[in-house]
Amino acid sequence: MKIHVYAKLKDYFSPEFELDAVARNTDELKLRLLEINEEARQILDSCRFAIEEGFIDHDHKLKENDTVIIIPPSSGG
């Protein structure tokens, strides 16, 4: 599974990386990410998740070849 992160999340993770561990949904994905960097807990709790052009819910079933986008709170404008 490929992971892309943006903005403040880049202080905790590489902008793009491959996750070898299994994550069946975004709840599990969050746990896998915390195993990489536990300090990201607070920001991860406020993030949304997306695949391609749509947000996904926490129970959306993730596939091995998905590219998951992790989206921190917006701060445009």
């Binding site: 892309h4 943006y6 903005a7 403040k8 202080d11 920001i43 406020s46 997306a50 391609e52 052009e53 749509g54 947000f55 986008i69 989206i71 921190p72 709170p73 917006s74 701060s75 445009g76 404008g77």
Partner: protein, 148 residues
């Protein structure tokens, strides 16, 4: 110019190029619109008492583009806008440059003002675009949330 309010479909809503506010405004005139409201969000030289050197914006562009188009379409429908345009810049911006422009044109000013505020509020708070402030002392900080 198209007269059905869809002229903004051809405008790139996320761009790395400097925003041409005058050109965007020139595309917002419509025979059925008696009011045109233009908002330009520009880079300020300070934030919370700290001197700002520049800002950098990034976006998750595929989703940001879709969301901005959806927000504009909803606003057109809700307020009966003749024209609704939004363009957000990404990349590094200097003080005084425009980071985002929203233009709304409607029959009367009430709808144009209200729709404009609604659109910019949603772009700031919902669309995956992020601002990083670079301060004069060399520090930088990603915006966790909009503070405007």
């Amino acid at each position: 110019m198209e007269v059905n309010g869809s002229s903004s479909e051809t405008i790139e809503v996320i761009t790395a190029e400097p925003l041409d506010v005058v050109d965007l405004l020139s595309q917002a005139h419509h025979p059925g619109a008696g009011a045109v409201v233009l908002f330009s969000g520009e880079v300020r030289d300070s934030n919370k008492g700290r001197d700002v050197a520049c800002l950098e914006y990034e976006s998750y562009t595929p989703l940001a583009v879709k969301m901005i188009h959806d927000i504009l379409a909803e606003a057109r429908e809700k307020w009966g806008l003749r024209v609704a345009i939004a363009q957000h810049r990404i990349g590094r911006l200097s003080i005084g440059e425009s980071a985002v422009v929203v233009i709304t044109a409607a029959a009367h000013r009430h709808e144009a003002y209200e729709a404009n505020q609604h659109i910019i509020h949603r772009i700031k708070h919902e669309v995956p675009i992020w601002k990083c402030e670079y301060f004069s002392d060399g520090a930088h900080q990603w915006g966790n949330n909009c503070n405007c």
